[in-house]
Subunit: 115 residues, 2 copies
Amino acid sequence: MECSHKAEHEQAAKRALENMPPEEEVGRVAAIFKAISEPSRLKILFALRHGEMCVFHIVEAVGGAQSAVSHQLRLLKACGMVKSRRDGQNIVYSLSDEHVVAVLELACAHLHCKL
Amino acid sequence: MECSHKAEHEQAAKRALENMPPEEEVGRVAAIFKAISEPSRLKILFALRHGEMCVFHIVEAVGGAQSAVSHQLRLLKACGMVKSRRDGQNIVYSLSDEHVVAVLELACAHLHCKL
DNA sequence: TCAATATATGAATAACTGTTCATATATTAC
DNA sequence: GTAATATATGAACAGTTATTCATATATTGA
C-alpha cells in the first residue's frame, strides 16, 4: 500500500467504497449483462431489432434447436430484456424497451464496429 | 410456421438473417458483456469510475482476495475495458474509455435505478 | 374428440468460469 | 546481492450454465 499515488488512490478507493451500490443492486445489473453475454442470446436480441417475431422465425434467424432458443427466450424474458404475447398458436417476442437497443448499440460503439 | 403474422415475421426474419453480424463479431460483443456480467468484475468497474487506482486500493474498494482481483483485472484488460500502466512497484488501472462508463450508466437507466 | 402444430419444460450431461492456494515475477530499499 | 512489497500466474476444485433429448402444454381445425 506504499504506492507513490497513495493520497489520490486512497481518496478514490474511499469514494469508491462509499459509493459502491449494495450487493443486491450490483447483482441485478450483472444479471442484465449476463443475459446478453452469450452469443446465442445476443443473436436473438440482434434479430429482434428488426421487428417482433414468433419463435419459429427467431429460430430461422439465429439458428440452433427450437428447444435451445426457447430456453434462452425464457431467460431473456425473466430479466426483462424481451416481452412476449400470445397470438393464436404463436408466441410473439419483441425487445422490451429502447434501453435494450441502446445498450447493444453502445457496446458496438465501444468496439468501433458497425452492425 | 403458419402464424397469422407470417408476412411481417418472415420479412423481419429475413432482414435479421441478412444483417446478423458474423459469428466472430457477435463473439466479441458478447465478450464485452460477459466481462461485466460478474458482480466481482462489475464492482471493479464501479470502483474505477472514481479514478485510477493501483491493485492494492482496488482490493480495498471491492473486497475479496488479491489473487482473485488480479485474475479479474486481467480479464477486464483482455477485452479492453480497463487499461493499466506501471508506476514503480504498483500497477495503476483505469477505465479504458468513456464508452465503458456509458454502458454502465445505460444499464442503470434500464433498471430505473440510480447509482 | 382427435390430429396437427407451436412453444415450453424437466432432467441429464458437458463445457465453462470464478475462486483459492501456492508460487512466480518485478520493483524498490538496504 | 538480499529482503520486502506489489502484482501476476498456474493448477485444481466447485459452482454455474448451455445444450440436447424427450415430453408436456396449448391452440387450431376437422
